[in-house]
Subunit: 330 residues, 2 copies
C-alpha cells in the first residue's frame, strides 16, 4: 500500500496503517504476487489504499474506480508448404490471408460487440449512478479525437459513450497483422502463412484465462479446412474494480471532498499494474486516491508534480483515516 | 504470330502466313501494343495462331482456350496521426487494422463469389460443352493439392470444379497485408495505417479498367468515418478468350487430332502475355497450338523440349494451313 502519511493533527491515526512499497511495477511485478502470498498474514487489512492513478484535472478532483485488464494473444494461420503462384492455384485452395481477414473481421458484430463465446458473461454492467457520474465529467470529445489525430467521429460499441467505451467496456483490438508480399510492386502469390497480434482489454469480473480459452474456441471455429492455427497467449493482467458504492470508496470520496471542498467525480483507467493481485490475495476492497495529473508527464522527461495538489493529497489522507475509522467496513 | 513453319509437302501453304516474333514478352511487352497499332495494316489477318502454351500431358494433347487476365491493386487505410496507446483509445476510435480486415473479408460472400459491384456482369459463362471437356481431363485433385502442400479439401467458388475455378472463373486474392506491431512480444497500439495488396484474376470479357473502378467504389464503401483510403492500381493484363466453338479453333483442333491421332481436349491458363493486344488490335480470333509440357521447365535450369512432340507440332502446323484454308472464317 503506497499512501501519503500526513499527520492529521492527532498523535496517531485512528486506524492501523501498513505500508507496502512496490518497487518492481515498471518491470512487470514478476515477484509481487508471490510476496503477497508469503506475507499475507502480516499484510492482512480491511482496505487497500493505492496512490498510483491520476485525477481528471487540477480543478476536477476524481477517484479511479477500476482498471481494465489486458490479455495479449497471437495467432498464426498456416496453409501451403510454401508461397504458391496464384495463377496456378488462386481460387482453388484456401488463402491464409483471407482466412485471417475473416477471423479478424469476425471479432466484432454489427454493434461492435466482441463475438468470443461467453465474452460478456462476467462483465459487470455500468450502474445508472456510474453512468451519471461519468457523464458529469467535462469531457471534450472533439479535443480527445484531435489528440488521436482523428478527423471523423468516435467509433465503438453501440449504446455507450466514448468514456464508457474506453473505461468500462471490454474490447478486442488488433495490434498488428502481417503476411505475404509486403514489398514494392506486385507478387501474385498465395502466401504460406498469416499472422496477427490481438489484445483484449478486460473489465471486472472477466478472467483472462476464460477469455484465452474462448479465443482458442473462436480461432478453431474460424480456421477453414486445409489451414492450421497456432495460438500464443502472453502474460495477462486481470481487471480490477473499485466499485463506487463500496463503503471504503465512499469513505475515500468523503475524505477527498473535505480536502478539495468540492464534489469528487469518478474515472477509470487502462491499467497495467499489480492492483488485481493486491485485491485478490489480501481479499480487501481497493480505494484509489491520488492527486497526479496527466500533465505531470509520468515516466517522461521533465516529470513534475503540483505542490498544491500534493498538499491536498496529504490532507485527504489525514481525513481518510478518520473516515475509514468511522465507516462500517465489515 | 509465332508458328512452326513446316512444309506440308506442297510447294507453298494454301494460306498466307505472316510471322511476328515477340521478343519483349519476358520484360512486360511494353512496346508491343504500339507496334501492333503502327503495323496493323501489314499484319492484317483472319486468324492469329500462337505457340506459347502447353499441353495437358505428352499423351493428352490439348489446346489452350483462354487466359485469365490480372489486375493488381494496393490499398492503404490511414487513421490516427501516429500509433495510439490502446489503453487510452482502444474501443473508442476506428482501428485501421479492423477496417482492413473487414474490407478484405468482405471481398467474398458465403458462396466465395467476389463482391465487387458489377464484377460478374461481363464474365462469359462456361458452356456445357466446355464443362464436359474440362471434366474429361485426367485431373488428379489429390495430387494437385499435394503439390500445393494442402492436406485439406480444395476451396473456392461454389458450383465449380477445381479446374473450372482456376481456369474459367475470376478471383480476388490477397497477396499481402501488413500493419501495426509485427515484432516479438506485444505492443498495445492502435496502429496508424493498414496495408494490403490484392490481385484480381479476370476472365473474358472483364475489363481491368472496369474492375479497378469497381474496386475504388468497394473501398470507399468499406472505409469507415475517421479513416482515409489510398488506392494503387498497377499495370493490368486483360483476359483473352479463344472460344472452343469458334471456326478457327475447330480447324486447329482437327489439325492437331490428325497429327496426334486422338481426341484433343481443352485447357486454360493463368496467362500474363500480350495475347489480348493481338486479338484486340488485329481484330482476329486466337488459336493456341503448342506442344510444350509443364515438365519442360520453361525459364528454369535444364529447360528442355521433347523432340517427338516438336515433330507432332510441325505436323499439326502443316495440317493447320489446310484446315484453315478449308474453313469458312468469315
Amino acid at each position: 500500500m503506497r499512501a501519503n502519511l500526513a499527520a492529521s493533527g492527532a498523535a496517531a491515526p485512528p486506524v492501523t496503517v501498513k505500508l507496502i512499497v512496490e518497487g518492481e511495477e515498471e518491470s512487470g511485478s514478476e515477484h509481487f504476487a508471490a510476496l503477497l502470498r508469503r506475507e499475507r498474514d502480516r499484510l492482512a487489512c480491511d482496505v487497500i489504499v493505492i496512490s498510483d492513478t491520476t485525477m481528471w484535472a487540477a480543478d476536477v478532483p476524481s477517484m479511479c474506480t477500476g482498471m481494465r485488464g489486458l490479455l495479449p494473444v497471437g495467432v498464426t494461420l498456416t496453409g501451403p508448404v510454401r508461397d504458391l503462384h496464384s495463377g496456378s492455384f488462386g481460387g482453388g485452395v484456401p488463402n491464409p490471408l483471407h482466412a485471417m481477414a475473416a477471423l479478424l473481421a469476425g471479432l466484432h458484430d454489427e454493434q461492435e460487440r466482441v463475438t468470443l463465446p461467453r465474452f460478456y458473461d462476467r462483465v459487470l454492467p455500468l450502474s445508472d449512478t456510474e453512468r451519471d457520474l461519468i457523464a458529469k465529467l467535462p469531457f471534450d470529445e472533439k479535443q480527445w479525437l484531435a489528440e488521436a489525430g482523428e478527423s471523423g467521429a468516435a467509433h465503438g460499441e453501440q449504446g455507450f459513450s466514448t468514456l464508457e467505451r474506453i473505461w468500462a467496456r471490454p474490447t478486442a483490438e488488433i495490434n498488428g497483422m502481417w503476411g505475404g508480399h509486403t514489398g514494392p510492386g506486385n507478387k501474385t502469390i498465395i502466401p504460406r502463412a498469416a499472422h496477427a497480434k490481438i489484445s483484449f482489454r478486460l473489465v471486472a469480473d472477466q478472467d483472462p484465462a476464460d477469455v484465452a480459452a474462448a479465443f482458442r474456441e473462436y480461432v478453431a471455429a474460424w480456421t477453414p479446412d486445409g489451414l492450421t492455427a497456432e495460438i500464443t497467449v502472453l502474460p495477462a493482467v486481470r481487471p480490477c474494480p473499485s466499485p463506487i458504492d463500496s463503503v471504503a470508496v465512499q469513505a475515500g470520496r468523503r475524505a477527498m471532498q473535505r480536502a478539495f471542498g468540492r464534489e469528487v467525480l469518478f474515472t477509470k483507467e487502462g491499467g497495467s499494474g499489480p492492483e488485481a493481485d493486491l485485491a485478490e490475495i489480501l481479499d480487501a476492497p481497493l480505494v484509489f486516491i491520488a492527486v497526479g495529473l496527466d500533465s505531470d508527464r509520468i515516466h517522461a522527461p521533465n516529470e513534475s508534480a503540483d505542490i498544491s495538489l500534493l498538499l491536498r493529497g496529504a490532507e485527504t489522507s489525514a481525513y481518510l483515516w478518520d473516515e475509514l475509522a468511522a465507516a462500517d467496513l465489515r
